[in-house]
Amino acid sequence: MLKDWFTNGIPIAEGTEWLTDQITEGFSFLFEPIKEHFGEFMEFTADKLMLVPPFIIIIIVALIAFFISGKKLGLAAFSIVGLWLIDNQGYWEHLINTFTLVLIASLLSVIIGVPIGILMSKSNTVEAIMKPILDFMQTMPAFVYLIPAVAFFGIGMVPGIFASLIFATPPTVRFTNLGIRQVSKELVEASEAFGSTGTQKLLKVELPMAKATIMAGINQTVMLALSMVVIASMIGAPGLGREVLSALQRAQVGTGFVAGIGIVILAIIIDRFTQSANSKE
């Protein structure tokens, strides 16, 4: 067999395919319900959001923007004009779909990423194992994740979320690890010297002290998840990305530009929101 490998090349591609097939079959009991129920849940969320009249959402977003930016008008005004423009161009439904995708992908990334980051910060072994995995996850072209995603979950929002998760989780993991490792040694010692348990040390000292760094990581994660929406639309995820993709396929510069602007507006609003949640402390 070894000789065969040298003459014909190591069958990595075949191996990967075989593995993916095995996983798809072996875990179908897990993937099928996820595909079904999670897909339903996402559609349900998007549908409910779409029931709310656009102007109410615009007002709510503007109000939140006003208060989190320290009662300044800039972000609120931008939110009103930007969101109104998207609605005006007839992309409201796509906007809601994109938002739902980004929101759920980001939430899952945080739920998965923060605990992994904590584990990494506590153990040098875990850190050494995770670092190359994270590098791999981030540098592998995002399109590649679409293939197993389709194999596991078919087409639609769910595989889009899956691909976004893999692509967008690493910053949260990295920054959580970094943030906790950067907490001053004396503060950790103080916490231990007074007899804290490991959990108390984590919850009362390390996580609060690392909060700013972790939030910066979450901000990155949200932005990456948003950047995945165009790519995820290639496997049928609905939203603004799909409009960009179809414009690309039909070479419609105008439509592509408008849908692209919609993504930019959403990106700016989400970015400022996540950032100011951080800078408030």
Binding site: E186, E189, A190, F194, G195, P208
Partner: protein, 399 residues
């Protein structure tokens, strides 16, 4: 019984502590071990015991292992070998839960750079130790407030630490440690980051606090003056080993080796030594019994030109010079009070030498040392100069 007792406490940092311990037992030096094994000896067989209510200072230059040693006492750093007994229990053998309990109930710690939690208010900082013991909210707030009152920060409970000055921040650090009401306070260079004047105030306050609260304090410092000022006993460290343990006077007067001697060479002895160290037993006459004749005889015997006069209770009454006494003897005056001079200079037993120096300067007769008006000793100028020069024989010769 000592409250804390360290026996052969040793810490080796590095990958191969066993080999390093063997070399240590064979008597290799810190440098040799580093060269041979790559391991660093942090603390080398430290043994000492601390009595309840004592301020025990661990003093050494940076790299001497003093900060490691204090962290071995509450096991923030795991000892490689040796034992550390607190109230007779070996901390090194405890499991995590027992260790936490000891840290919560018996050991408070104050840090060099304060280590306050910046996201918490002053009150919440002081509450930390009680919070993690899950005390009810009102109770821990009450105790924390009491501790803050004690350090003079009663009015700052709602401020954040970064709104306070360095001295005030360290008071919060002290209050946080005191709120738990621990038996032992570990203070790691607690005042080193403060301005000299504030540092002195804090030292005084610590001594005051200690005299009312009767805590046992283990105080780490690199500042010899600080050590001499607040320490009941001082352990001097070099290269991870304790080179001498003793009272400030013992360290100053009887340095154990050249290192200690060089170390204490530059100390301003005049601030540390008091009249008690340099006075000698006085020649006296009793004015109720003796006349000029006895006075003259005693002066002749001792070879001195004046003699102090006391009553039967040894209360200092004045002095008599040889000249006046022989004059009186010629005129056959019996009553000593006629030639008694009263312009004598007196100092208290605990007057520091730097004050004695100005008093004794320009005075031709010796200075009397009194305690509650009773004469206890006499200081001659030679003794002052000898003590300032650091002659270690001062004790035996003059005391």
């Amino acid at each position: 019984m000592p409250i804390i007792e360290a026996k052969n406490l040793t810490k080796v940092f590095g990958k191969n502590p066993k080999q390093a311990i063997e070399l240590l037992n064979q008597g290799s030096s810190k440098e040799e071990i580093l060269k041979k094994t790559g391991s660093t000896v942090g603390v080398n067989k430290a043994s000492f015991s601390v009595e309840p209510g004592e301020i025990f200072v661990i003093m050494g230059l940076s790299g001497s292992g003093k900060s490691t040693l204090v962290r071995l006492i509450n096991r923030l750093i795991e000892p490689t070998t040796g034992s550390i007994l607190i109230d007779g229990q070996d901390l090194a053998k405890m499991d995590k839960k027992e260790l936490r309990q000891v840290r919560r109930e018996k050991l408070g710690m104050v840090f060099q750079r304060f280590a306050l939690f910046p996201n918490r208010t002053v009150l919440q900082n002081a509450e930390y130790g009680l919070e993690i013991q899950k005390l009810p909210k009102e109770e821990r707030a009450k105790k924390a407030r009491e501790a803050l009152e004690l350090v003079g920060l009663g009015g700052y409970t709602d401020q954040k630490p970064d709104q306070l000055s360095g001295g005030m921040q360290q008071r919060v650090g002290l209050a946080r440690a005191l709120a738990n009401d621990p038996e032992v306070l570990l203070m790691d260079e607690a005042f080193s980051a403060l301005d000299p004047l504030i540092r002195k105030d804090m030292q005084d306050e610590l001594i005051d606090l200690q005299s009312t609260m009767k805590k046992t304090i283990i105080f780490i410092t690199h500042d010899l003056d600080e050590a001499l000022r607040i320490g009941d006993r001082i352990a001097l460290m070099k290269d991870g080993s304790i080179v001498q343990i003793g009272t400030p006077e013992e360290i100053l007067m009887n340095p154990a080796n050249d290192y200690v001697e060089r170390f204490v060479e530059d100390v301003d002895r005049s601030k540390v030594l008091t009249a008690n160290h340099i006075m000698k037993r006085p020649e006296t006459i009793n004015i109720e019994k003796h006349g000029p004749r006895v006075a003259l005889e005693r002066m002749k015997e001792a070879g001195i030109s004046s003699i102090l006069a006391v009553d039967s209770k040894r209360n200092l009454k004045g002095y008599v010079t040889a000249e006046d006494a022989s004059e009186a003897k010629k005129k056959d005056i019996r009553d000593i009070s006629e030639i008694l001079l009263t312009d004598i200079k007196q100092v208290e037993k605990d007057t520091p030498m730097n004050e004695i120096f100005t008093i004794i300067n320009g005075s031709s007769i010796p200075t009397a040392v009194v305690e509650n008006d009773r004469l206890v000793g006499i200081i001659v100028r030679g003794a002052v100069i000898a003590a300032l020069a650091g002659e270690s024989e001062v004790d035996s010769e003059y005391a």
